[in-house]
Symmetry: C2
Subunit: 156 residues, 2 copies
DNA sequence: ATTCAAGTTGACCTTTAACGTAAGATTCGC
DNA sequence: GCGAATCTTACGTTAAAGGTCAACTTGAAT
């Protein structure tokens, strides 16, 4: 890697499938740093920004917001040992992980419920007759009682 | 159930933990039907609307939008046999189910990836030294090469 | 008769991140 | 000197399900 190397905004954008607007936006947020533009009117991004963009994409994929990514970058700039960054990122990942697991569990029970409903809908031919015992999906209220609108958890 | 019974907007709202605004909003969308207000200025919701509200909440819980719910209600009004409603709802549920399963699978692999990263972050004490082989979480680009930013799928 | 909680219409506001898009002026590279 | 690239500024997008005034009117109970 050549530390002297620098990219124009379009180059950097193309390298990662972004638009110039996006790169500019990232810089606005403090995620990228262009050289001071002495004499020139166009931005120049030193090589290290390429790595940053890649890192941004990665962290974004893992569910971090750009604001959070910025915090991490700031942290890294202040603590060069990397300790605080590692701790912070680790915590963030852990909490994301927990959220994700909860979401997955919720999704699982959602899937179960929905399966039950689909089954009900397709199994009983005259399900809509509201036999008086239970009615999971009846839609015309004129014939229905609130108490007859059941869910799987209500017990069969 | 007394077919003559009717509710004021606040009553209906309180029954289901809604606000009057919400009930009004539902009526605007065509989800509820108040009696024609001859002589009166206040809405009156016949009993059947209670069942509708309950149904709305149920369908909402299963991920249908209010617009979709309205379509179902319309369908039910046009086809009293219930056949088309059952078909439509069944299809909707099925597609929701498929989406949910995909989401869950994506979530699962996300969880795996994230676990890998957490492990990496916590296992290698000087992970941030960028040993040159791989670097999953390094944050200061000055010392890093883009190619060193790896993910679990990249192979260890 | 009074009162005052409850109801009414209408119209705008909220949330939210990560950009898109338009416009017109400049600049760079060849 | 020309056209592609870049610049700044600033508003637009997305969008579901209501929230929040504001200013007014009703209706049931005292």
């Amino acid at each position: 890697m050549d530390p002297e190397r620098s990219y124009k905004i379009g180059e950097l954008a193309r390298m990662f499938g972004l638009t110039a607007r996006t790169v500019r936006f990232y810089e606005e947020l403090g995620l990228l740093e262009s050289e001071s533009r002495e004499g020139s009117a166009h931005r120049r991004y030193p090589e290290r920004n390429a790595v940053r963009v890649r890192r941004i994409q990665q962290l974004k994929d893992y569910g971090l917001t750009l604001a959070e990514i910025r915090e991490l970058f700031d942290l890294a700039a202040r603590d060069r040992s990397g300790e605080s960054v590692r701790k912070s990122l680790s915590e963030k990942y852990r909490s994301r992980l927990e959220e994700a697991r909860k979401k997955r569990d919720a999704l699982d029970s959602y899937i179960e419920d929905l399966s039950w409903h689909v089954e009900q809908l397709e199994r009983v031919p005259d399900f809509f007759e509201c036999p008086g015992a239970s009615c999971a999906t009846c839609l015309w209220a004129e014939r229905c009682d609130v108490r007859l609108l059941v869910s799987p958890k209500d017990g069969a």
